[in-house]
Symmetry: C2
Subunit: 215 residues, 2 copies
């Protein structure tokens, strides 16, 4: 009895995601789904990206509760919409669709969807994005790629944040990198320190992806 219902939910999601994708193509906006653990630094990364990346950027941000991320983001950008999911551990395509209606997509080059802080649930829910970015933090330990194979396999790029804290926490970068490569041979592993504004590998990757729009 359960499986068909779950399949229906995913089928419905995929249909809305296709509509989102069509709308993103119409408006020529490049869309990234940012997935990472709570506290991995997603909002901080986006605040710096809004400030320093030469493009017109919007953000849809999901959280169970509070508008704290949206408030932080609005200090750096105008086109920010918050979705509160209550107990929901991921965004779905229909939530994104409703949030999109509050943004003038025609005025944007890039749209980030900052997913609910969670390494598990958001994976596999198509939102209509062009790229999935998976985010880990050095402070969360070197076993997190191996423990979250679905995210690592799905991601088009992987960010390892909080590199500046390397002197203070145990982390085997070779082990982490080997785990990533075992699961995903192609996605670049971008080492950054969002708290220090040291984001060049990320900004370079983003420039390659969306360069045509902003040159």
């Amino acid at each position: 009895m359960k499986v068909p219902i779950v399949e229906n939910v995913l089928k419905f999601n995929d249909e809305i995601a296709a509509m989102n994708r069509h709308r993103f193509a119409e408006t020529n906006v490049y869309v990234l789904d940012l997935i990472g653990a709570p506290g991995s630094g997603k909002t901080e990364l986006l605040v710096h990206t809004l400030r320093h990346f030469p493009a017109r950027i919007g953000v849809i941000v999901g959280d169970l509760a509070t508008t704290r991320d949206a408030e932080r983001l609005m200090q750096a950008g105008d086109a920010v919409v918050q979705i509160n999911t209550g107990k929901g551990c991921h965004l779905d395509a229909n939530q994104v669709r409703r949030a999109m209606e509050q943004i003038d997509l025609d005025s944007l080059d890039v749209l980030f969807i900052e997913n609910v802080g969670n390494l598990i649930c958001p994976v596999g829910f198509d939102l209509g994005q062009h790229a999935v970015v998976g985010m880990f933090a050095l402070t969360d330990g070197d076993d997190k790629a191996a423990k979250h194979p679905h995210l690592v396999r799905t991601a088009d790029a992987l960010i390892l944040n909080k590199m500046d804290l390397a002197p203070h926490v145990p982390f085997d970068l070779d082990l982490f990198t080997a785990d990533v490569r075992h699961l995903n041979a192609d996605a670049p592993l971008l080492e950054v320190s969002a708290g220090k504004g040291a984001l060049d590998p990320w900004l370079d990757w983003l420039r390659q992806r969306v360069g045509r729009r902003v040159e």
Copy 2:
């Protein structure tokens, strides 16, 4: 169509949880469900607890993939069972029930259930435990209690780990504490540094809870 199915799943879970609780009472074992973000330090806390808390302790540990946590725990204790959940973002009572069959509960004073690293999904799934312990890490930011109100409200104790990294990361402890108190007036907030073995507030709380069994 969806809601009754979800209710059935929860009703089935609660029935199994009641059976688990009955079994825990029969065998006089005190059971704690440890819920925290990936990388918050759950396994490290339990390794130290196994080594330094004067009781016979078992652990059931959940993860999407890998047996790395179980391997770490087995270096410190004998009664360790791993559950791999695949894409499942929490443990349910039936998974715990099957894992329990691999442990001699009569030989234990305390059983920890280290849930899947996730601040959202495990909340509300009764496993038959006596207490829920919620775990946060200083490195994940001071907004995480407010963003996860269901966990904070549900918890019997809250751990704030990685206090030793306070000099290196921004964290407003007064704000975090106020958020916790706003949501849960009763649960103690236990400040620890599992990586340094500085766990006295946690071990003291645990002693109060399970003291009768181990004195």
